[in-house]
Amino acid sequence: MNNTGSVFADSRPRPEQGPPLWLLAELTYRCPLQCPYCSNPLEFAEHKQELSTAQWIDVLSQARALGAAQLGFSGGEPLVRDDLAELIGAAREMGYYTNLITSGMGLNQARIEQFLEAGLDHIQISFQASDGEVNNMLAGSRKAFEQKLAMARAVKAAGYPMVLNFVTHRHNIDQIDRIIELCLALEADFVELATCQYYGWAHLNRAGLLPTRAQLEHAEAVTNRYRAQLAEQGHPCKLILVTPDYYEERPKGCMNGWGNIFLTITPDGTALPCHSARQLPVTFPRVSEYSLAHIWYDSFGFNRYRDDDWMQEPCRSCPEKHQDFGGCRCQAYMLTGDATQADPVCSKSPHHGLILTARAEAEQPQPGIEELTFRNERTSRIICKG
């Protein structure tokens, strides 16, 4: 299995490394919203360049030939690209399962129908909260909530399967019952209740976002209660709760392993093993310079944290290293300044105290939503200069 040797003329057999199965196409960093937990890089305003339509289609076709089957169009807000329908059509023709990951801003009935015709398989809409006021405050837009509701209804009416995504944090997690009720009323097929992961802007705002342990336990109990109800009714909606790893004693097996099945392409064509890897002190290859086969199998960046040669103690001799791969490289780097350290979430990490401090901080009163740093171009440019 996983023998790509016959697919590419320029590839030798690589028994150890399987193909990429998931492709995340970050079409643009442009976005009309300003979520303070956005996972885009802090310096996104510096990366203005975007691949052309033809370059994207070439990337899609190379990744498909390597084996990618799931494709996410995201950003930024992918809807700001005028060529989105064309990209969807090309991708679908190649055999991808096409997911549009959007804030719903810029969507309208005409585009919903145009995408359906192009073959779009699924639409995910992200919400900021279950009530208009908090939602709009977090999104930095007064019209966002109404637009999202209208678009969620239109997406379902057009017959798409729909995922609703709520990023949860200390300011909205206590309303999780109302969030779930809203999703059920909107007939979501899947609901992602994703507590912030602390990368990008969310890391900057961590103290103002991280929920307390009690908040988290409450959210889990409520979600489980709804799950039991849904199961009893044979209801098809699935609730997916992503808890913040800050309350775990072992890290997550990030991205299923570095450069293992996920491939992200950023707006300017930089290839990454995960969407936050751009911040690491590693040079990542660009699709304008190398083939994706080279990038995936042979590039320095994609091989940098594969296997376990790069590990230090305590990971190196740890019996669990093939389960969690030492956790997340980005988190290790952000928190310790060294990407080859164990993820500090791990209780065996010498830096685990940082996580304990963050948990203790969460128990203290924190500033309100209005004091979070919002993601926008002006702030991005200031951060980069500073």
Partner: protein, 92 residues
């Protein structure tokens, strides 16, 4: 799990798609942000799940194609029941 009736007519849930992936050398079921690899028998069943054929017809067809398979009907029923419980398919 409720065993499906042989008269039930299963169809893939909207937004779910099965296809052959040459690189993975297997059939996969694709759905919103998800993908499962299917083994050969699961794929043989799902290929016939088209919103037209009943469970009974699917079993009969598979028995013709794979005459030496023992207890095929019980396996197919269990698989269809399981796929229904996972909401991959629905009955019409």
């Amino acid at each position: 799990m409720n065993m499906p009736l042989s008269t039930s007519v299963p169809a893939l849930r909207p937004g779910y798609r099965m296809q052959w992936e040459p690189v993975q050398d297997c059939h996969v079921l694709l759905y919103p942000e998800g993908m499962v690899k299917l083994n050969d028998s699961a794929a043989e069943v799902l290929k016939r799940v088209d919103g037209q054929r009943s469970v009974g017809e699917i079993i009969a067809e598979l028995q013709t194609c794979f005459p030496s398979a023992a207890e095929l009907d019980a396996d197919v029923l269990a698989f269809i029941g399981d796929a229904h419980e996972q909401h991959w398919i629905r009955f019409r």
